[in-house]
Amino acid sequence: MASAGAPSEGKLSAKTAIGGRLAYYFPTLAIAVAVIALWEFIVVVFDIQQFLLPKPSAIFAEFMLQVDLWLRPHERSILFDAGGATLWEALGGFVIGCGGGILVALITSRWTIISEATMPFAIAANSVPIIAFAPIMNNWFGITNPASKMAIVAIIVFFPTMINTVRGLTSVDANQLELMRSYAASPAHIMFKLRLNNALPYIFSALRVASALSLIGAVVAEFFGGPRATLGVYITQEASAFDFAKAWTAILLASLIGIAFYLAVLFMERRLMPWHVSFRKTG
């Protein structure tokens, strides 16, 4: 019935939808532009030294220089090499940590006693500053080995993912479980047809947090030492060499990677659970 509308009507609504999106994002863009303009203005008017706070235009110019280097076939941009290396560490740790968290949650939630016994430890571990283990991981895996950073990232994202997944697997509507019971369903059916689907929104909210945490974890772990071409090391070295515009470009690149990572998770979420209340089109 809903598809009975004339095609011209569909086009019209598509146009207004694009207009609506622009109108929706306009305030956000306006704020971003205003903040950058204010930053530039303050640095110029108060004559702030570049080692305290470089001008956005200087950071941007340096960034474009690196982009240019990166795009040339025979040149190398250490900045973008560093971005790639850090992304690799973050991604590796994310996959290992989140995958492990979901797996452990699936196993422990199968037995209520085990999940109830392990949850307090998981919650306690979640409030430990895992990053403090970075020097130890450097010892274990080798300071230039990406595994040392992946390990930190994996541990950081493991606990929130596990805790959320257990919550999603166990907070199932009582009537849903009674229905499954009335079908004489096996534990495997209850797990894969009911509990896991029920947990998806919980898992994705953990993954979104984990995507941001994994990049933070990788960069901060690199502050404790690592290969030259990683964002954390790049930032510390350029800062100690007083080349602050360069340090800031690394921060900018880290932010861009972080946002892209987050959006990728969000995209996956929409693909995997289009039914969820937060993605429903109203009207």
Binding site: M1, D173, N175, Q176, E178, L179, M180, R181, S182, Y183, A184, A185, S186, H189, K193, L194, N197, L200, M273, W275, H276, V277, R280
Partner: protein, 272 residues
Amino acid sequence: MSEAKKDIAISAKSLNKIFNPGSDEEVIALQDIDLEIEAGEFISLIGPSGCGKSTLMRLIGDLLAPSSGELSVNGMSPPEARLRRQYGMVFQAATLYEWRSVIKNVELPLEVMGYAKAERRRLAEEKLAMVELADFAGHFPWQLSGGMQQRVSIARALVFDPAVLLMDEPFGALDEFTRERMNLELLKIWEQTGKTIVFVTHSISEAVFLSNRIVVMSPRPGRITEIVDNALPLPRDFNTRNVPAYHELVARVRDLLRDAVAADPARADEVE
């Protein structure tokens, strides 16, 4: 029912259910329940909150175990009957899976029970047609109204052809108009399928309109006050609610409930 004696579908003898026995929070939910339900009967359990009507339904469906007494369903113990998939259940909330389309929701029990794909689709389509939702097979639950969701839930309960349909206030969350329409549809489904239906409700008019017999229950402890035969002719329709016999029966059940509640005056307002 003037026919020859029918098969007994559900039989309860001196059935008791005590929650938290021996503790401070001990509650006698059901006491000395004797009840025989014939195959193909439509039985309503009615009474104020705390009378144990839902508990009785849950004992029959093996969602709870009785504390003492005998209970058999088609000659089997309730756990046995459950393992043989004798129960279709409908709750007050439609409890559909929001991640499944309407037809996939109806197919769910069949998936669990290992039916082949083509067979699942065929049976689900058949039952969706029965509740007049064939056109909505591809919709998601949130795109349907409350009454439509509940119809999907009924289709899902019937799709594997269980012997007994257990319904716990299935229309309690719907508005009066939708509820009356759903009553009519449920009667039609009952006539088509000949299922034994145990129907828990708060509503006198609903119980009188739907059932062959109305089991009136009283609270604390939950007991059967009286079992009222309903001689209103079948099939019933919108006009059934206008005939004097209907109103007499409604008045009779209301009086019985009033007596049942009299011992517990704080709850008198809970009967519709």
